[in-house]
Assembly symmetry: C2
Homo-oligomer: 620 residues x 2
């Protein structure tokens, strides 16, 4: 393989802001590439320290991304970054450097990949493990179109715990399209990588002389004389068996792919040589690239999990700008530990989100009953069904947006059999900076369309604890507790010992309903309305579905009922209530909400106190 | 391994109906087992020829199931049959022989596994690829409970194309629980098995002397002298590489499992020895068992696909009792070929349901643009997204109940990016004999909760063609065409050149609405009502969602609007319409519908013409 770089280089000094990218990349010397990579890392650290975002994964893929753009021709070749959160360098290299400071801000660059942002992003990526399938679709289209271009998927080893990655590999391996899967192995998914595949990949890493060893074996095989007495069968059989075994070595080769690796993911020369080898195959290839997450920024290298997805921080120390002591996730995690210490039936399950969901406490204190199943939400639910069939009470904590992965499993493995399982839905509602791929606005439509589901939506830490208790001990089918990202912003402290609803009856003929985080704003809206002479009664749902018979009775007493709901409208609880009661006016979300702060999103959706008051005033 | 059977046997003659099962099984000699297996096969053929059902897969697993029940102790050991449709022998052997003739009939035995039917069915299985996850959950609970029992999953190679199987393997492989995965390899899923994994498994099959060859190699390795000059590195390195390669051979071992196999799945002695070996490991094991689908019934052996899931047939000839020439599936399949011949952008995609969805015509005539992706609905959707990003028009044909697998992919990979993809939803609505795991009553709630989806629900072959055309050429986002299982039962022929709605205005103040297959009954109901003096107008929706502005205008004119809908109620179109209009009375399905004929189900749900008329008469 020719790994020489005969390029003359471009004019110096190298300065990111003066380069014509990606074109100039191909003209650079290796030394110039190294300078560029340093500048990119500085830019990444600076921007993420200001805006928050994904740091470790991006620092780990700087050289890899530079090498990809030197070897392939985007946008004719399609480069797909799985999950998309490690594509910051790709953005910088494809004409988005000048906008990079707007990362994750309203109107700015997305933290993920979006075709609407650049022709260099072939598909949307935000959720894990889709890149193999997307790239295979693209490569299959290229083939029929007679194109000689490549579809290149860059996939982390974490994404390889997700079943859809495997479905894609299984489907693509036998094809003859120009598909290159770059497997970026850093032995981390979001929490520490889990499962048999991760372990397997880590063994490949140390197989340093793999390619040459294989050659050596092949050659030795032809020379093995008859030595000793074969245990069974003839030596020829043994030799054949050996040959078969040796010549089909990695899982990827077993599935029909060519295999190139291992490649040092921080050595551009080696990366280029690996990618050129992959290109030359002109059929599906897996390239195994080993990288270090957080590379080049000491705090992130030391604690890549902590710098996976982060808020703004101070560069010198790595300390976060704002320290959040508590969050719904942490309160849930701690409460679950307390409950599980008293009840051996409780198991905790996460799909690669141990820290995100607050289950780190459980994993530490009750490791025997803690399961991190990998980025495998479907399996997680069915696994819970198995546990529950043995009398256990599994608690699956998952982000709302990722729960979408297991609609069928919730129906097939929990609902039909009326299985008692607790699903704790974190990041329910608007999540802010991550935008439309990550907002949790579909869990209510999804879960309310499934029989045998009871849903709680607490709006404070105190209620969260009550609801978790109810889900564990009052319910005997699917019990869901959903709560928003971040911390408790309730300004009113009025915990009552109920998980049904809180009703404030002032004998008005107008009722305002909501649940969850919107309650604070609704209370203020009621104050504003009261100040302008419009007295309203208030109903806050806690057990939001199925709708309580007493709630229905209350609703009947009113002329007008305004139901504000932080959920997608079609399938929402307010829509369901409106179908039953003529006086209910549902006011939910009717579109994808792009990246912006939660406050900005609320303003856009008409969910500020002032807007709510205005809406009500305008309709009575 | 001790493979001797020293059992004295039980009193003869062996007669299925006199045996105390499963207890007697363990007392039988191998000869007696063979007699039993013959009797079981006769019973299977007789019952399926009468009742319809799954034949090939059950004929293939008779000996395997007998061996499992001789080696394991159900119900203490938990035996989980993936998909459940190959568990007929298991049912016969676990106290359900006397009810076996009721298979798939209303009130009779289910065609799948159900804990409510027997303690020997640990979890519900009906959808593919869940058994590994369920069994791992069960085994994990056993471990904490201090039980020494086993969780045994019986999984076909077809199910191994589904990502959740892999997620389960990946998670379980590193554990230390008593989990045994029996991989039943018959090189068929429902259509011919597809993908790299299937090919890989078929190579294992011919590795007949695998275990001994491995031993031979291990022993030979220790004796290899220095032969010739090693190509690179020292011979020690080569030997180490060889040893690593040889000692970690199958994909399952790579993922952390022990591996036992290959085992002849029709030889009880060999099966027992393999299962005993697996038991002795006391940690996760994969046992590879090779079987012949349709074994013992010539027509099925010859054409296992044709006898996968079948209607009643004549035993002597294997000919079906009723020959259905056309069905919605076939009409769709032929029409798509005609369209695709004119339009090179059209691709057809199926998830292992080539015949079921009518895509066999496409696969034959346009193989380059036909993709059977395996039992991998998630991948199928994301793959379609990739194709569409290149300007292609993918058409994914899938059963309603299996579409549930790809809710997240529809949102993430199609809806957010407003990607034009056509999803043809077969088996929409009640499917009958397969019961609650397979009824297609959630696709409407699921799809209507996703932005950028347009849904068509034709009620005749003619409309199906019009709708397919509209989905391909009038829509530019997600276009869904949904149609029921079986054939066109419309008794009225009144095809109009519209895909919007058909409105029959008789100047009544009562409007009856429906869509799809219920239209025939609704027309009859209107006649009954007219006969009793109640004149009703009729609105049949074709493009059922989003709801047309003109439809809304029509609805406003009526006092009462009765909307009969063959969908689960929560999330239905009628519920959505009722949320907007006070006069709309939604009449949809509010529970899981168990196995029975479609006609029986309609009667249970109040969807016969007489019942509809009665409902309307009772409410005006």
């Amino acid at each position: 393989m020719n790994t020489k770089n005969n390029k003359a280089g471009i004019e110096e000094p190298i300065d990111l802001k003066n380069l014509d990218l990606p074109a100039d990349l191909k003209k650079m010397t290796y030394r110039q590439c190294d300078i560029l990579c340093r500048q990119i890392r500085e830019e990444l650290i600076k921007t993420v320290s200001n805006n928050g975002g994904h740091l470790s994964s991006n620092l780990g893929t700087v050289e890899l991304t530079v090498a990809i753009h030197r070897i392939f021709d985007s946008p004719e070749d399609k480069i797909i970054f799985d999950v998309g959160h490690q594509a910051y360098t790709h953005k910088i290299l494809t004409g988005r450097y000048k906008k990079f400071s707007t990362l994750r801000k309203k109107g700015g660059l997305s933290g993920f990949c979006k075709p609407c942002e650049s022709v260099h992003d072939p598909v949307i990526t935000g959720h894990s493990s889709t890149a193999v399938s997307s790239a295979f679709g693209i490569a299959s289209a290229m083939k029929i179109q007679g194109s000689k271009n490549y579809a290149v998927a860059v996939v982390g080893d974490g994404a390889f715990t997700g079943g859809i990655s495997y479905e894609g590999l299984n489907n693509a391996g036998k094809s003859d399209v120009n598909l290159i899967i770059i497997l970026n192995i850093n032995e981390m998914s979001i929490s520490k990588n889990v499962g048999g595949m991760a372990k397997y990949l880590s063994t490949l890493r140390y197989n340093d002389h793999y390619i040459s060893a294989k050659d050596a074996v092949r050659s030795t095989l032809d020379k093995i004389p008859v030595v000793g007495k074969p245990v069974k069968g003839t030596l020829k059989n043994t030799k054949d068996a050996l040959r078969n075994i040796v010549l089909r070595r990695t899982i990827f080769e077993d599935l029909g792919f060519e295999y190139v690796g291992p490649v040092d993911g921080h050595n551009i020369k080696e990366l280029e040589s690996g990618l050129r080898a992959a290109k030359s195959k002109r059929r599906p290839v897996v390239v195994a690239v080993y990288t270090v997450k957080g590379k080049g920024y000491a705090p992130a290298e030391k604690n890549p999990g902590g710098y996976h997805g982060i808020s703004a921080f101070e560069i010198e120390t790595g300390n976060p700008d704002v320290i959040v002591e508590d969050s719904f996730s942490n309160i849930f995690g701690k409460e679950l530990v307390a409950l599980a210490k008293q009840d051996k039936r409780i198991y905790a399950v996460t799909a690669a989100m141990k820290y995100g969901t607050g289950l780190q406490y459980f994993s530490k204190e009750l490791p025997d009953r803690f399961y991190d199943v990998g980025i495998a939400e479907e399996h997680a639910v069915t696994f819970c069904g198995g546990l529950a069939s043995m009398g256990m009470t599994p608690v699956f904590a998952v982000y709302s947006t990722f729960l979408q992965r297991c609609y069928d499993q919730i129906i097939h493995d929990l609902s039909i059999g009326e299985i008692h399982t607790v699903i704790c839905v974190d990041r329910a509602g608007i999540v802010g900076d991550d935008g439309e791929t990550h907002n949790g606005i579909f869990d209510v439509p999804m879960l309310t369309s499934v029989p045998n589901v009871s849903i709680y939506s607490p709006s404070s830490y105190g209620e969260l604890k009550l609801c978790l208790n109810a889900a564990l001990y009052k319910e005997n089918r699917i019990a869901v507790v959903r709560y928003p990202k971040g911390n408790d912003t309730t300004e009113v402290s009025e915990l009552r010992k109920t998980t049904s609803y809180i009703y404030k009856n002032n004998n008005s003929k107008i009722l305002l309903i909501t649940y969850g985080r919107l309650y604070s704003n609704l209370l203020k809206a009621a104050d504003i309305l009261a100040d302008s002479g419009v007295q309203c009664d208030i109903l806050k749902l806690i057990n939001i579905f199925p709708i309580n018979a007493r709630v229905k009775k209350i609703i009947k007493n009113y002329d007008k009922v305004f139901f504000f709901e932080e959920s997608y409208y079609n399938g929402s609880v307010s829509q369901k209530l409106a179908a039953e009661f003529d006086n209910v006016i549902p006011l939910a979300i009717n579109k994808y909400v792009k990246q912006e702060t939660v406050e900005q999103a609320f303003a856009e959706l008409g969910f500020t106190a002032g807007q709510m008051a205005e809406t009500v005033a305008g309709m009575i």
